[in-house]
């Protein structure tokens, strides 16, 4: 057994275990079909499908880089658009919380926590990628995560864990928000009563 075979096998096992502990392994198995053998040849396929198994709605596109000047082009990239009902639920709860408290999305501590969790999860060991967290606060935009993977990106095996961490953070945010929203609304403090206006007769 050479180094590459062992490396591939252990990375496949790690990804599968991450998905198994998040209840997503069956999805990966369905996607893999007959190609479940733990081999170096299958590593790439397992990585790609593992990335698509975490969020319930995952779309992957190939984008050619746009021409930005006479000779220069943006780099080609793969774009993953990741959506999940958990994100929608979190977004709905955030909206309710904000409207009850009369605060904006920026002032919402739960939204900030999830954003921090996204940034922390997306610290991958490869630099050749970018991501965009769309929190759904803009009109007609559902919450989603966009991943831009450029040519030299190779850390596909780290993505499933990162995505699972984001969903975990989302789930815990939902729990906290639900509890927060169950609490009765705080007492409304009455404004000091205004002294009754005395009408004066015109002289």
């Amino acid at each position: 057994m050479d180094e590459d075979t062992l490396n591939a096998a252990m990375r496949i096992l790690n990804m599968a275990k991450v998905l198994e502990s998040h209840g997503k392994l069956n999805r990966l198995m369905d996607m893999l079909g007959d190609c479940t053998e733990i081999t170096w040849d299958n590593q790439c396929m397992v990585e790609r499908f593992a990335c698509e198994s975490v969020f319930q709605n995952t779309k992957c596109y190939e984008q050619c880089g746009k021409q930005v000047s006479h000779h220069a082009y943006e780099p080609d990239r793969e774009v993953y658009v990741l959506r999940d009902p958990l994100l929608d639920r979190f977004h709905a709860l955030c909206r309710e919380y904000e409207s009850r408290r009369g605060i904006t999305r920026i002032e919402n501590p739960y939204a900030r926590e999830l954003e921090d969790a996204v940034h922390s999860a997306m610290r991958l060991s490869n630099y050749n990628f970018d991501y965009l967290w769309v929190d759904g606060s803009e009109a007609r935009k559902s919450p989603k995560l966009l991943l831009f993977l450029f040519e030299e990106f190779y850390s596909f095996d780290e993505i499933p864990k990162a995505l699972c961490d984001i969903l975990d953070a989302c789930q815990s945010g939902i729990r906290e928000l639900e509890q927060e929203l169950k609490k009765p609304a705080g007492k409304v403090i009455a404004l000091p009563s205004q002294p009754a206006l005395k009408q004066k007769e015109a002289a």
Partner: protein
């Protein structure tokens, strides 16, 4: 540069050295080590369906990888020492014998 290896001195030093086997610090998962690795080494096909995921944690496969690299480093060091010793040409040294 001329290198001289005194086999008598080497023998003496080795006898005086305390024997201690190099030890890998982290604990290796027995399921991966005794069930999965032998199958991979024997090039037997092994599928994800056959894996018992309750038997190991997420980080255990990486510990196995670390162990593999650690062992490889150790082997490389030994090979290097062996090669250096082998490269030294033997030379005769006069010794005085008391009969």
């Amino acid at each position: 540069m001329r290198k001289v290896l005194d086999l008598g001195e080497l023998h003496k030093q080795l006898r005086q050295t305390e024997e201690h086997e190099p030890h890998f610090d982290e604990e290796l998962n027995p399921y991966l080590l005794d069930t999965v690795l032998p199958q991979l080494e024997g090039e037997e096909p092994i599928r994800l369906e056959q894996i018992d995921f309750d038997q190991f944690d997420e980080e255990d496969p990486f510990t196995i990888l670390d162990y593999y690299y650690w062992r490889e480093n150790l082997c490389n060091t030994m090979r290097h020492i062996n090669r250096r010793i082998s490269d030294i040409l033997p030379s005769c040294v006069k010794t005085r014998a008391f009969l």
